[in-house]
Amino acid sequence: MGIILYLIPISLFLGGLGLLAFFWTLKSKQYDDPDGDAHRILSDEWDDKPRP
């Protein structure tokens, strides 16, 4: 059972990474234009040099 002493913190850490990733998406305004983003991926422009 001693293994859970390692496994619980590890799983919490991994879950926390996911949470932080979600914060980042929120902060970098990735939910401002969901329709546009879905369509933009189909556009063949800027493939070599993505726009800022």
Partner: protein, 725 residues
């Protein structure tokens, strides 16, 4: 955009110093355009490429969700250039006032709620996993370890996520009132405190998972509620932003375009034909006709020449006018109407929503129940504080209004979403509930049931020769009556006669010579006719008797359907208009109204609605003009079309986005359904309580039961709400 990851949730909420600095520097002009027709990847690319190529444009970015493009450009690039550019590649574009839209862009509250929702969801899932092993029979040291880990996750998560409830509860407690957030906050806090105490005593039961799932479900309800309102607000703001407040002012001899806010009393402004009066004033130069239908409801244009007074909101029809400003901004008649509105509004704010009513019964009940549970068990066990407190908290958690918190937002979200797809914008949170109670519908005429566009009614009465002359004259003018006349005659296959010396006399009509005779088309007085009661224009050939062309207002699409459907639903219908009796009566009879009132002043309309309300009727007012504004605010619930004046849209609870009126009848049906669902949801959660509370009171409740009851009731309530879609 900075890609750095915020280490703590609070940092992500607060804007970084870098962003703040960016907001302050203004080096370039920002132009916002609404693009109603963009819909695909190719559209995005085409618009952005075309705009990016234009001179002076730094960047352009399309937002497909909002159907908007924002352009960063040199200060000398104007929105008109951009609109013309987009028109040349086939996209319709309208300028949006960036100042009005600013609030939508930084939807901080929504992001904050989402962040709290994510944190509580994350914590809930982890604690739930730990709890499952406890429920499955973990004992002694393992159980204590799991409880401790749960505590470490749950306490900070709740401290961060449940803040909206604590804040709201605190603010009502300060004024000695109760709302739904008081029992919520109490349950969360007590559950946490008791669980922490139990954990330190290596007790059997900890309610961290219940406290967290409570927070999570309630935040979900809160977020749904916020999103529904944010969508409505952003659509309403877009409507407001479409009217860019600008005017042309004379600086010496030069005309400069300035924002309306900069106009002062005494300035000279020029109003082009087709333009709306930005201010109250007196005409100093020019002659024209004014369309005052939005202000008074009358459809017949009035003459305006030197020294006539004009009010903000009137539309200039034929000739350019120079106006001396007598009142600008807040002092204009447009804004003075706001006082009337404010007075009427205060009565509407007294409406208590179903959720508040439920909270009023519920909040004290729950507190009393758990208090009695505590006292009862204290007596029964002879003073076992720990057991009594455990049972009291179990009662609080089980009765906590998880389902109640979701019951209303889930239904309103589903119903507003459904109506939004049909072209109706629900601006007010309680509008649907109020709409469901309506039994009387009051309509305005001009601009609401009719489009405000005239239609020729007596084409058959004229000889082809007269029609040819009339057509030739009408084609020379952009006056709405002339445009409609020209369209009707050429639609019937008429050819214009050949006229010489054709010219428009602003404010009067059009004049020309035909076969050596003077021909005139215009106002009654100008051609020597007596003006009738109906909207009309007059044709005079030589010295012959003037001929009268009469017009009726074009019916708005779906108006007859909406009226018929409402009548079928058993509503009492009433038509109140500021227009002349003949026009009102004709329309009322055509659409099947039982009652109508003509030549009503704005105060009359509001008074009539107040009288109806005093008689116990729940009035729905549908109107668009400034003269309806007070009535819209006084009614139990109000609807205005998107073409309405800004003031009217602000005063109404629901805005019709399209030009079609037929969704009206569906709205009342949906509203009634939504209210029924809300009540069903209340009943469902009440039943859960009826079953669960005795179990909790008797002391048989376990954390597992609390978790099950909470999730089950929340899910049933959400599913029931979804049936509306």
């Amino acid at each position: 955009m900075c890609p750095q990851i915020a280490a703590c949730p609070a940092c992500a909420v607060a804007p970084s110093a870098e962003e703040l600095a960016k907001m302050n520097e203004v080096v370039e002009a920002r132009i916002m355009l609404s693009l109603p027709t963009v819909h695909c990847a190719a559209c995005i690319t085409a618009v952005e490429r075309e705009l990016g190529r234009a001179n002076g444009v730094h960047s352009a970015r399309v937002n497909l969700t909002l159907k908007r493009v924002s352009i960063e450009a040199d200060p000398d690039v104007t929105a008109d250039d951009m609109t013309a550019l987009l028109a040349s590649i086939g996209y319709e574009a309208h300028e949006l006032d960036a100042g009005t839209l600013r609030a939508t862009e930084t939807d901080k509250r929504g992001r904050e709620l989402l962040m709290r929702l994510a944190v509580s969801g994350f914590a809930m899932m982890n604690v739930m996993l730990l709890s499952i092993s406890v429920w499955a029979g973990a004992e002694a040291a393992t159980r204590d370890l799991f409880h401790w880990i749960s505590a470490i996750i749950a306490l900070p998560a709740i401290a961060f996520s449940a803040q909206p409830f604590f804040r709201s509860a605190w603010s009502v407690l300060k004024v000695r009132r109760l709302n739904m957030d008081v029992p919520i906050s109490l349950a969360i806090l007590l559950a946490c405190a008791l669980s922490l105490y139990e954990v330190t005593q290596s007790g059997k039961h900890a309610y961290f998972d219940a406290a967290l799932s409570l927070t999570f479900f309630l935040l979900a309800g809160r977020y749904l509620d916020h999103r529904t309102r944010a969508i409505a607000r952003s659509a309403a703001e877009e409507l407001a932003a479409l009217e860019v407040p600008r005017a042309e002012r004379f600086d010496g001899d030069e005309l400069v375009t300035v924002p309306i806010a900069e106009l002062a009393v005494g300035d000279l402004v020029r109003v082009k034909p087709g333009g709306r009066m930005p201010v109250d004033g007196v005409v100093t130069d020019g002659q024209s006709e004014l369309d005052r239908s939005l202000l008074t409801g009358e459809t017949v244009p009035v003459y305006a020449g030197p020294d006539s007074a004009v009010s903000a909101g009137e539309v200039n029809l034929t000739g350019p006018l120079t106006v001396r400003v007598t009142a600008a901004g807040e002092d204009t008649s447009l804004h003075r109407m706001a006082d009337l509105v404010a007075m009427a509004e205060s009565s509407k704010n007294r409406y208590t929503s179903l959720a508040d009513k439920a909270a009023g019964i519920y909040a004290p009940g729950v507190h009393l129940l758990s208090f009695f549970a505590f006292v009862g068990w204290m007596v029964a066990t002879g003073g076992d504080v720990r057991l009594s407190l455990n049972i009291a908290v179990a009662v609080l958690i089980i009765t906590c209004p998880c389902a109640l918190g979701l019951a209303v937002p889930a239904v309103t979200t589903a119903a507003s979403g459904r109506l939004f797809r049909r072209g109706m914008l629900i601006k007010d949170a309680t509008a649907l509930e109020r709409l469901a109670e309506v039994d009387t519908v009051v309509f305005d005429k001009t601009g609401t049931l009719t489009e405000g566009a005239p239609e020729l009614t007596n084409l058959e009465d004229f000889k082809p020769r007269d029609l040819q002359v009339a057509l030739a004259l009408a084609q020379a003018s952009s006056h709405p009556l002339a445009v409609s006349l020209a369209a009707a005659v050429s639609g019937a296959g008429g050819e214009p006669a050949e006229l010489n010396d054709l010219h428009e006399v602003p404010g009067y009509g059009v004049e020309g010579t035909w076969n050596g005779e003077t021909v005139r088309l215009g106002r009654a007085a100008w051609v020597g006719a007596k003006a009738g009661a109906q909207t009309a224009t007059y044709l005079q050939i030589g010295t012959a008797n003037p001929l009268e062309f009469t017009f009726a207002d074009h019916l708005r699409e779906g108006a007859d359907k909406a009226v018929a459907a409402l009548k079928e639903q058993g509503m009492k219908l009433l038509l109140i208009s500021g227009d002349a009796p003949v026009a009102v009566e004709t329309l009322a009879k055509r659409l099947g109204f039982d009652e109508w009132v003509a030549e009503a002043l704005p105060e009359d309309k509001a008074k009539r609605i107040n009288d109806l309300s005093k008689e116990g009727a729940r009035v729905l007012m549908v109107g668009d003009g400034l003269n309806d504004t007070a009535a819209l605010a006084a009614a139990h619930v109000s609807i205005s079309p998107a073409s309405a004046l800004d003031a009217a849209r602000v005063a109404s609870d629901i805005v019709l986005l399209g030009s079609d009126l037929s969704p009206l009848s569906e709205a009342t049906v949906t509203a009634r359904k939504a209210t029924r669902r809300i009540k069903e949801n209340f009943a469902i959660s009440a039943w859960y309580n009826v079953i669960a509370v005795p179990i909790a009171l008797l002391g048989f409740a376990t954390p597992l039961m609390a978790a099950l009851a909470m999730s089950l009731s929340s899910i049933t309530v959400s599913l029931n709400a979804l049936r509306l879609r």
